[in-house]
Amino acid sequence: MSNIIKVGMADLNICKAPDGITTLGLGSCVGVALRDPVTKIGGLLHAMLPDSTVIKNNTCVEKFVDSGLDELVKRMVRAGANRSRLEAKLAGGAQMFAFQRNSDLVKVGERNAEAARKKLKAMHIKLLSEDTGLNYGRTVIYYPETGKYVIKAVGKPEKSI
């Protein structure tokens, strides 16, 4: 029997097939899923903010796309994944409310998604597909067995990328 491991907000974890890994209700946050297709070791990061270098109180590495991805890859490699084989899928980064006042946070969803693309590129990890942006929340489930990334949203048919 396989388990589904849960990841919270500003959190990350790894799993090994046939287990899957999930995070619920992604809003402006992004869910970056990684796997090594040979060892079938997978991981998921639920990050809130794009860049750990511009914010002072950043003891929590999982909060940021950049430091979170570094940590996730480290954990996966320690568990036996091969760094050079890693592949990625990306979801989230919505704008939940039409109007946000704090100018630092305008389009934070979009910037989270962009930060993930940039960081993956810098790490030479191939981004296979993504479902990002727009104005609705997403629940995601990732299966490192197949690399299937299932995305559920309110009032929309379930899809996988």
């Binding site: 907000m9 619920l24 946050c29 809130m48 939940m96 409310f97 629940t139």
Partner: protein, 207 residues
């Protein structure tokens, strides 16, 4: 200033004061709701807690619960976020009651008119909450124009959470749940930043 260690100094006495704020604020707001509905609405004992972001979903009873969230940014002497969350069925019920037969009472999605009604309900209720907080503390509080989203609770809460992610690794949340016997189930959430927290305490003679 190190935001987290400063928030960590919040002890149970202070949390009691914050709970009392939740009590008074939400008390006024649920009275407003009871008047609108002409029905008794109960309020649970407020919770005041310093949470890690990953604990947020549990705190409101599950990230995937579909809710209508009315969100406003609060400025003035108190800075932060104010949120009014109403479970989807409750929202439907409330909207139908307010529209008195206009609109489609069984539609799966809310139309423009329903959304506008929900926003106004959120406005009235958070207004009642913030007014009583302002009266109690003598502090000036200016809420922004409300914004609304109907979606998973986790996704809605990611918005105030991200604002606090900029400041630290934890979020100070004053949460009050209200229900009636059958149809109403929702939350108020006030998330003040650290300076505002200090100003609230000062104004109440606690600092």
């Amino acid at each position: 200033m190190d935001n987290n260690s400063a928030f960590d100094a919040i002890d149970s006495n202070y949390l009691d004061v914050l709970r009392e704020i939740g009590n008074i604020g939400a008390g006024n707001a649920t009275t407003a709701l009871a008047q609108m509905l002409q029905r008794k609405v109960d309020m649970k004992v407020p919770q005041a807690a310093l949470l890690e972001f990953k604990e947020l979903g549990e705190a409101i009873g599950g990230e995937e619960t579909i809710m209508a969230g009315v969100y406003m940014v609060v400025e003035g002497d108190i800075n932060g976020s104010m949120m009014f969350l109403l479970e989807k069925e409750s929202s439907r019920h409330l909207v139908n009651h307010m529209l008195g037969g206009f609109g489609d009472p069984n539609a799966e999605e809310f139309g423009e008119m329903e959304i506008s009604v929900l926003k106004e309900i959120g406005n009235i209720m958070t207004g009642a909450y913030l007014n009583s907080l302002s009266d109690l503390t003598g502090l000036k509080i200016f809420p922004s124009v409300p914004e609304i989203a109907v979606d998973m609770a986790g996704a809605i809460l990611s918005v105030p959470a991200i604002e606090f992610g900029v400041l630290g690794d934890k979020i100070l949340m004053i949460q009050t749940r209200f229900t009636d016997d059958i149809q109403i189930d929702g939350f108020f959430i006030l998330v003040p930043d650290l300076d505002s927290y200090h100003r609230i305490m000062e104004s109440l003679g606690m600092a």
